[in-house]
């Protein structure tokens, strides 16, 4: 299936997605009938506090949940015109290899192989059939694209030898390897220092723009959403309570829960009047 042929319609459409997880003897209704869509090249934020089901939703969308934990998994997940909830595993693997979607996680150390050099891990995710020199070339390009200037050095390192920000960038490079149409970033900057968080945020913004790649950012931080996203879904207890354009959401939140989240976030946050240089263009 070529990308051009199917480049019509929405990139991702989720209808009535319900995910109930088995936790011990209990069943948790983690996602409870969620409708959501992502347009091509759009940046969408999914916001909620811990326990709101946002991560489970993201994983369910990409079929990353282990079947043994699932008590119920129903609804429709249509990615680029194909229903992927019921797709056989082999077809799903093929889709992943072709670079339809990738995911970046909060804790990069948990998702990088500790026994393998960073470069080798990225090489593994590249499309097969490349010559060794081309693979090396591509790995370095990806690392540079993710904002690691000393790409040669980083490619030879093991994950534990990198700082937190560099690890997150290595994970982003890995996610970019199959040239995805959608990158799902689950709390991509939460474990990072504020200054590094800003760097990673700028990198995501640049990648989103340069590659015309759709981006779904899952976070509890409304600041991150305000900086990055076009459209926002607010989740609470497994349900989407509000969905709006980012400017509308912050100007006039409809749901009281959204209003409360914004208020908590703005309390003590930098006020526009305190920093005149910030008001330059509006």
């Amino acid at each position: 299936m070529t990308r051009e042929a199917s480049a019509t319609g929405r990139l991702l459409e989720v209808r009535g997605l319900t995910v109930h997880l088995r936790v011990g003897d209990e069943v948790v209704r983690a996602v409870d009938g969620v409708d959501l869509f992502i347009e091509r090249g759009e940046c969408v934020g999914i916001v909620g506090e811990s326990g709101s089901g946002k991560t489970t939703l993201a994983r369910a969308m990409l079929r990353l949940l282990p079947p043994v934990e699932l008590a119920e998994f129903s609804g429709e997940v249509v990615f680029d015109g194909r229903e992927i909830r019921t797709l056989p595993d082999a077809a799903l693997q093929e889709m992943r290899r072709q670079g339809t979607f990738s995911m970046v996680f909060q804790d990069p150390l948990g998702y990088l192989n500790p026994t393998q050099r960073v470069g080798a891990q990225i090489a593994e995710a590249l499309p097969s059939g490349l010559r060794a020199a081309a693979v090396r070339q591509r790995v370095l390009e990806l690392l540079r694209e993710a904002g690691l200037r000393e790409a040669e050095l980083v490619a030879r390192r093991y994950p534990h030898e990198l700082s937190g920000g560099m690890r997150q960038r290595a994970l982003i490079a890995l996610a970019l390897a199959p040239s995805p149409m959608l990158l799902v970033a689950d709390e991509p900057t939460t474990s990072l220092d504020a200054t590094v968080q800003l760097q990673v945020l700028e990198t995501l913004r640049r990648l989103h723009r340069e590659r015309n790649m759709a981006l779904a950012v899952i976070t509890h931080d409304l600041g991150l959403v305000a900086e990055l996203c076009d459209r926002v879904y607010v989740m609470r207890a497994g349900k989407v309570v509000e969905c709006a354009d980012v400017f509308t959401l912050f100007d006039a939140p409809k749901h009281p829960y959204t209003a409360k989240l914004i208020e908590l976030c703005t309390r003590g946050a930098p006020q526009p009047a305190a920093k005149p240089a910030d008001e330059a263009v509006t």
Partner: protein, 351 residues
């Protein structure tokens, strides 16, 4: 004026570290000559990136680690010269609250025994009084009904409740200073506000001082009387007005790195985006330790290490050559285009 409750004089702490791909160990100066006075009842905050030495400094002040150089003074007396009773007083008056409440509470002890242990250790009460004291303290940190919470194990509490127990354990000794190392960062945002409110309330009621270590500048701003900014083991700026009127370029970059929960401002503001991170690059030798990342660097920064001096108008101490009236043009004009992040321009129009 009375002696500060806790002071640091020329504190130095080093760790051996190995660079990836190299066999030889080298010394990292986590704390590199810090002088600091903490007065009674004051709410002081230390901010900085990870690797700036804030936690190492806290551990030295708590006497959880021995400094390589310099001394910590408790009420004007060096820690290693305290008499037995003075040392007991130090251990009682200076308390700690840590980042991860689950790890700082014994998982096999009920809340009652966790707090009871402290009471026995310091002989605060006996018999019936023990339980009464525990109940009163749990009530003071908002854990009610106290009888029920006493019977719980740490894993039966939420993160916010665990942190409340940790605060109760510190408060039970009626301390004069609580050193809190990132007490908020493992908690949800709504819980963070509650814990901050609790700290404010305890301060009002008991005049206890706080040394708050945090990377969350918004939280710091809402509680601290005085702010100290650390970078690579040194204090680079200190004062009451630091967050409202930052003078040091590093402080400004830290403030600029905050995400603004307003899309209109977030997408149009100009800001300093620092390259690399403090932990990964080796510190430059000689001169100012911030110069490799500083967008305002001039030639004098390469050769002379700026000392912490009071800045002309504001009541702050700043370690920077380029602060107003010292050397070179003011800090409106960056000396290199590095103010722009290498990824995108700083001014981002609405897209």
């Amino acid at each position: 004026m009375t002696a500060p409750i806790l002071s640091a004089r020329g504190l130095v702490q080093t760790f051996a570290s190995r660079k990836p791909g190299e066999w030889r160990h080298h010394l990292v100066h986590a704390v590199d000559g810090v002088d600091l006075d903490i007065h009674e009842g004051e709410a002081l905050a230390i901010v900085g990136e990870s690797g700036s030495g804030k936690s190492s400094l806290a551990r030295l002040l708590l006497s959880l680690a021995r400094p390589v150089g310099g001394t910590v003074l408790y009420r004007g007396q060096a820690l290693d010269r305290l008499t037995k009773s003075q040392h007991r007083a130090y251990r009682r008056e200076v308390q700690a609250v840590f980042q991860n409440p689950a790890a700082s509470l014994n998982p096999r002890m009920r809340v009652e025994s966790i707090l009871g242990y402290v009471i026995h250790r310091h002989r605060l009460a006996q018999g019936e009084g023990v339980r009464k004291l525990i109940a009163a303290e749990l009530g003071a940190v908002g854990l009610m009904p106290a009888d029920e919470f006493m019977q719980r194990y740490p894993h039966q509490l939420s993160g916010g409740q665990q942190q409340r127990v940790a605060i109760a354990r510190a408060m039970i000794l009626k301390p004069r200073l609580i050193i809190a190392d990132e007490p908020l960062s493992s908690l949800d945002i709504s819980i963070q506000t509650q814990i901050l409110d609790l700290m404010r309330e305890l301060r009002l009621k008991t005049q206890v001082g706080f040394l708050l270590i945090s990377h969350d500048l918004n939280a710091v701003r809402s509680i601290a009387d005085r702010v100290v900014v650390m970078y690579r083991g040194r204090i680079v700026e200190a004062g009451k007005d630091v967050l409202a009127h930052p003078l040091h370029p590093y402080t400004r970059a830290l403030l600029d790195a905050r995400l603004i929960p307003d899309p209109k401002i977030a997408r149009t503001r100009k800001r300093i985006v620092l390259e690399s991170d403090a932990a990964s690059a080796p510190p430059p030798l000689g001169g100012c330790r911030f110069r490799d990342r500083c967008p305002f660097v001039i030639s004098v920064c390469e050769t002379h290490d700026p000392s912490l001096k009071s800045a002309c108008e504001a009541e702050s101490l700043v370690a920077c050559h380029r602060v107003e009236g010292r050397m070179g043009p003011g800090l409106d004009q960056p000396s290199r285009p590095a103010v722009l992040p290498r990824d995108v321009g700083i001014t981002i129009g609405s897209n």
